[in-house]
Amino acid sequence: MGSIQLALLLQSLDQQLVDWAWIRQNYREDIVPAVIGHIYLSFVSVAIALAISLPVGIIVSRYRKAYPPVTILTGLLYTIPSLALLAILVVIPGIGVGPNAVIIALVAYSLLVLIRNVVTGIDSVPAETIDAARGMGLTERQILFKVEIPLALPVIVAGIRIATVTVIGIATIGAYIAGGGLGQLIFDGIDQNFPTKVIVGAVLATAMAVVADLLLLALERYLRPWARRVRGAS
């Protein structure tokens, strides 16, 4: 995105860079829907990816042999260039252009980091904590839900944070296959040689990523109250 913006900026130095009047007139029918579309794409993608990654991560942390193939598969998805993945998805019958193809691609990108963090989080639970839990008579289910997941949660949220920021960025490309979102503004701006749209789209996408990052960071801290408070042991 950076180079495109720069090229445009240089090209249009003679124009007024940001057309504030356009923003005032069009924010309701152009900008707000683009923002909502973008939030929709990102949120739904991360939510679906999480719904897949949590159970997969938990299963993989139990059946260790499944971890390498899962990592290879999700790693492979992660390395496919985004544009190529979108192109492949639209030619698959039943998917075609539109937000669904974009969501599938974004889910595919999120799996690697999410599954990895679920497994890392569960692995980080001290063995003696689990032994004590079992020794006191917690069932395997209770160990998972009352000990392992709460202790893994901050690490899982850290994964959600990385995935969300990545997804918000990549989602802009989704407009290329009519996925909507802020990418639509950017592509329109390029087509119409109208830098205001490009800048509004880019700035809002960046701001959204930053806000999501901060919110999730705050959540991560909130979920780790035992590390937040620092008091000297006496």
Binding site: E128, G135, V147, W226, A227, S234
Partner: protein
């Protein structure tokens, strides 16, 4: 009462058993210490009682019933469990850590709250200060106290303790041992206590089971008898060349019958609460042949000779 009947454990893939044909009985209200060198199967034996490990053969009876009669989780909720690594839940406050088993058993909140405070008091920690802290905000000794309190929370008749004071410095360990013995005097639990430290075994145990490599029971007896009559080379070398002195550490000056002292002003004064071993050390330390014990307003004489006599009549027990 806990009874091991011909219990063996061979881990999958292992050439030799970790525990072999173990048979012995732990009486109600007693502390039975499992002691032996590292890897001799102490932890394995202990964990078969609450079925964290299932034996390969043999059975374990609790109050006459096989411990397989109820589910493993139901069994474990009735048996206290404390380990060296403590394993407090880092994400739960001290109060909620201690409340773990009562919560599993469905106690109401008020009862749990009262029990938590009572236990914190019992292990010498001010409830108001500690109940809302997280484990990371406690020292090692405090964490071990909480570990023991958590194991006692639902007042289980049996407690399993695997090197429960193993992770603290020697001074703190001694204090925790003394405190625990004081608590046990009142609660009279049946306790299986694992340690690799023979001194701790002698101090804590009503009975000691010495295991040797391969999980074989080398000797099972009272500390006095093990120190007086080790039944094999292995036991003799495990209890150490200072076993005579160790016996003296089982006895307190207060338990000895002493004669009145007349004169002998130059002898050191001995506190009657000392162990005989410490008293002897104090006497020998100042180059004397005896010491003066003040008891019931009377001055009594403790001589090295009297201590020697103590060792000769071999069966003499505490109290």
């Amino acid at each position: 009462m806990i009874e091991f009947k011909e219990v063996s454990k061979i881990y999958p893939g292992a050439q030799t058993p970790a525990v072999k044909d173990l048979s012995f009985e732990i009486l109600e209200g007693e502390i039975c210490v499992l002691v032996g060198p590292s890897g001799c199967g102490k932890t394995t034996s202990m964990r078969m009682i609450n079925r964290l490990i299932e034996p390969s053969s043999g059975e374990i009876l609790i109050d006459g019933e096989p411990n397989t009669k109820m589910s493993g989780t139901a069994l474990r909720r009735k048996i206290g469990y404390a380990i060296q690594q403590i394993g407090l839940f880092p994400h739960r406050t001290i109060a909620r850590n201690i409340a773990t088993v009562p919560q599993l058993l469905g106690w109401d909140r008020e009862r749990i709250r009262r029990r938590v405070d009572e236990l914190l008091e019992l292990v010498g920690m001010n409830p108001a200060d500690f109940r809302d802290r997280y484990p990371s905000e406690l020292s090692g000794g405090q964490q071990q106290r909480v570990g023991v309190a958590r194991a006692m929370a639902a007042d289980p008749p049996i407690m399993l303790m695997d090197e429960p004071f193993g992770a603290v410095d020697p001074i703190t360990r001694e204090r925790l041992q003394d405190e625990f013995l004081r608590i046990q005097e009142n609660i009279k639990k049946t306790i299986v206590f694992v340690t690799h430290d023979i001194d701790e075994a002698v101090k804590m145990g009503d009975k000691i089971a010495i295991l040797e490599q391969g999980g074989i029971l080398a000797q099972f007896d009272s500390p006095e008898n093990i120190l007086t009559h080790p039944n094999s080379e292995f036991v003799a070398s495990f209890v150490g060349a200072d076993r005579v002195l160790k016996r003296l550490s089982l006895l307190r000056v207060a338990d000895m019958r002493l004669d009145p002292a007349d004169g002998a002003d130059d002898l050191p004064t001995i506190d009657e609460r000392l162990t005989v071993r410490d008293a002897l050390s104090q006497i020998v330390g100042v180059g004397a042949t005896g010491g003066i014990v003040e008891r019931d307003g009377e001055r009594q004489l403790l001589t090295i000779k009297a201590i020697e006599g103590l060792l000769k009549d071999s069966g003499s027990a505490r109290g």
